[in-house]
Symmetry: C2
């Protein structure tokens, strides 16, 4: 599925639209729920297949939040990292740069040909630190 011989069908377009409109980091099930609004007849298998296809072709990122929950998808495909709240589960995009010498040292020391890294920070988000009325219970934001 890494070739470019694939069609942007209406279903795939709808999935891509959902991803690009999302500011959170939806699971496949959440993408499915949202896609059904624009494409009522679509089935979950098509959403899973479309997400895998988009991810394989660089139009989406697959993301594991490390909490054992379902894979999440990110329509923001530029290089970035994540802040994950350990209380409400929300994930925010952040942009930071690892010192390039750190990658070089690691390549030299390990012998790995490193082509990417995943970095996520876990902690309490501002909302969950300073509850206005009660701790957040939602699952994305």
């Amino acid at each position: 599925m890494l070739d470019s011989e694939w069609r942007l069908t209406p279903q795939r377009r709808a999935v891509l639209d959902v991803l690009q409109a999302a500011t959170d980091h939806p699971t496949a099930a959440e993408v499915f729920e949202r896609v059904k609004i624009a494409s009522p007849g679509i089935g979950p298998a098509t959403v899973y297949r479309s997400l895998a296809l988009l991810a394989a072709n660089g139009l989406a990122l697959e993301l594991s939040l490390g909490d054992g929950s379902a894979t999440r998808y990110d329509g923001n495909v530029s290089r970035h990292d994540h802040l994950v709240c350990t209380s409400c589960g929300s994930a925010s995009d952040i942009q930071l740069v690892l010192p390039s010498q750190l990658l070089e040292q690691l390549t030299d020391a390990s012998g790995y040909a490193i082509n990417r890294y995943d970095l996520q920070f876990h902690g309490l988000c501002p909302n969950c630190q300073y509850p206005t009325t009660h701790p957040q219970e939602e699952m994305n934001g």
Copy 2:
């Protein structure tokens, strides 16, 4: 499960022994296979429950390799990061330090109370880059 009011039963001890003897990063199923050698009567549910208990009490780390596969466990609970081979799936421990000012800046800018981070590098391990006879196909190392 975060209290210290728990007993190190023979089954839990056996699970812990397996983790501490492991140099790879076994899945729960792999831990189960190994634990059965010392504790033949043990059931998979006990292994899952023991792993969760040990992780909650800081005696094991849960680890997602970001490839959609099962959760892995690490008996090395000191702060470290991982190199993950995108070809054979093996994971190696590495020790590196993020510049502390990076964490400070991030805390200041985001408002998050960060208490940990997960960092993994993905690429080809030396074995898979320079195959001796043929590409590696094993799943841990």
